[in-house]
Symmetry: C2
DNA sequence: TGCATTTCGAGTACGGCGTACGCGATTGGA
DNA sequence: TCCAATCGCGTACGCCGTACTCGAAATGCA
């Protein structure tokens, strides 16, 4: 297979400005992406099949392939489209902690609106909207004398936390929706009986403590997210040269 | 659907000790899991279909369903089986930084041996082997006066980093295998042309700097992993009360 | 104006997936 | 010996992504 076939969707713009002969396009990537996102929001990513998207547009599955090479590429488009919902100021405010918090909370909010995002396996290709967020986060850490690689590393740390925390949160939401158990109940009734005597016998003492002493399970989702985020931001603060925390 | 059907594979032990009438089992979860892991290691997770696993065992797909309720459950079994390859001492050494580094590097090594792990969408259910690693990591931070929730938060931070870094690393490996480009080449030839004049015009100045000044792309994978890990561990050190760093 | 050329919309079909279902074969206990 | 429970496994169904194909529509030009 040639390398060109591996190139991301962003390198293959749809021919939106045509002047030659031939029928005019009746759909568009943007419209298809929008419909796909709506379906995935309502019924999950696996419901956004090519047939279903086509049906929602009043056509068949194959018509979509005039605009999108593969379904995987459409998913990249969907991801970047939702990244476009992240609202940031044009430039960071100068308060790095507030700026990074903004990115974190905005990202979380968008992901909670589009829970299918966390069910993705592939690391998404970076589209223009994601690039905008990435650049904002990086520039929040600019001006402290850090090397660019350090900023990348620290921003990545926060990004990893946010992605993971949101995946957890949505996982619990869906779990609760299916079983009616809340997080703590699930932890004790589901994991508990399995490790059973092992936990009680002290083989997993720390896990045992998370169940008995841990308060994270009791916290509201907002507070739990903030709790972890604070630790991450404290870690970033520790990397700033002259304690601009 | 009942809640019982949602219960993880760990709550549904296979009937390994039978004495009543009926044919004796010819296979086992362990054997099926092992074969599935071998196939996934060689050809990727999507190649480990039920039909293919059955074929490798000299039978059909449906025979496996006597031992595993669903393919998703089998994947949970595969994950925990590989987590069993993580080699840790019985108890942490007392040097928290060395202990957490051990967990991080062991986890990375195992994931590199089983690259299909990072292509997973669902957050895995925690099996016994994962629990063992989790408990080891937590206990490495015990004894510094931290609340258990803080330990969970800090360990989670490191776990998030490791998972993300390994996913990246494997992603690049497969990219390189397909296209013959290394990481830096890909960054400039693939992302570069797309943002094109935008990058040059200064709309994404920080991203621009990661391309021009960044050295992360040039580092060997081991060093890159360690670079990020050091930042995470520094962040954890900052959370220890009396600077036990 | 009429035609040649090009693109679009859409139907058909293929191979592969997970897995529901059912049935003969095998086994231990009464 | 016969019964009842369990296993191995083949068949079949309804999905999926998408390769291929062809008529319809829309221009630029003669």
């Amino acid at each position: 297979m040639s390398a060109a076939e591996q190139i991301s969707i962003w390198m293959r713009p749809e021919n939106v400005e045509r002047s030659g002969p031939g029928r005019r396009p009746g759909y568009s990537r943007a419209r298809i992406t929008q419909v796909a996102v709506e379906i995935a929001d309502r019924e999950g990513l696996e419901a956004a099949t090519m047939r279903r998207i086509g049906q929602e547009l009043g056509t068949g599955a194959m018509s979509l392939y005039r605009y999108v090479p593969k379904r995987d590429d459409l998913i990249d488009l969907m991801l970047d489209a939702t990244a476009g919902e992240i609202e940031l100021a044009g430039r960071p405010s100068g308060d790095w902690r507030a700026d990074l918090s903004l990115v974190a909370h905005q990202t979380r909010a968008v992901s909670l609106r589009h829970p299918w995002q966390v069910t993705l396996a592939r690391r998404p290709t970076i589209g223009p909207n994601m690039l905008r967020v990435y650049d904002f986060a990086l520039s929040a850490l600019d001006g402290f004398g850090l090397h660019i690689d350090e900023m990348v590393s620290l921003c990545g740390m926060m990004g990893d936390y946010v992605a993971s925390a949101v995946r957890d949160e949505i996982g619990w939401l869906e779990q609760a929706r299916h079983t009616g158990m809340d997080r703590r109940q699930w932890m004790s009734e589901y994991v508990g009986p399995y490790v059973g005597q092992i936990v009680e016998s002290g083989a997993y003492p720390m896990f045992n403590r998370t169940i008995r002493e841990g308060r994270l399970s009791h916290m509201a989702p907002d507070a739990r997210f903030q709790y972890g985020l604070d630790h991450v931001l404290n870690g970033i603060a520790a990397a700033l040269p002259d304690r601009n925390a």
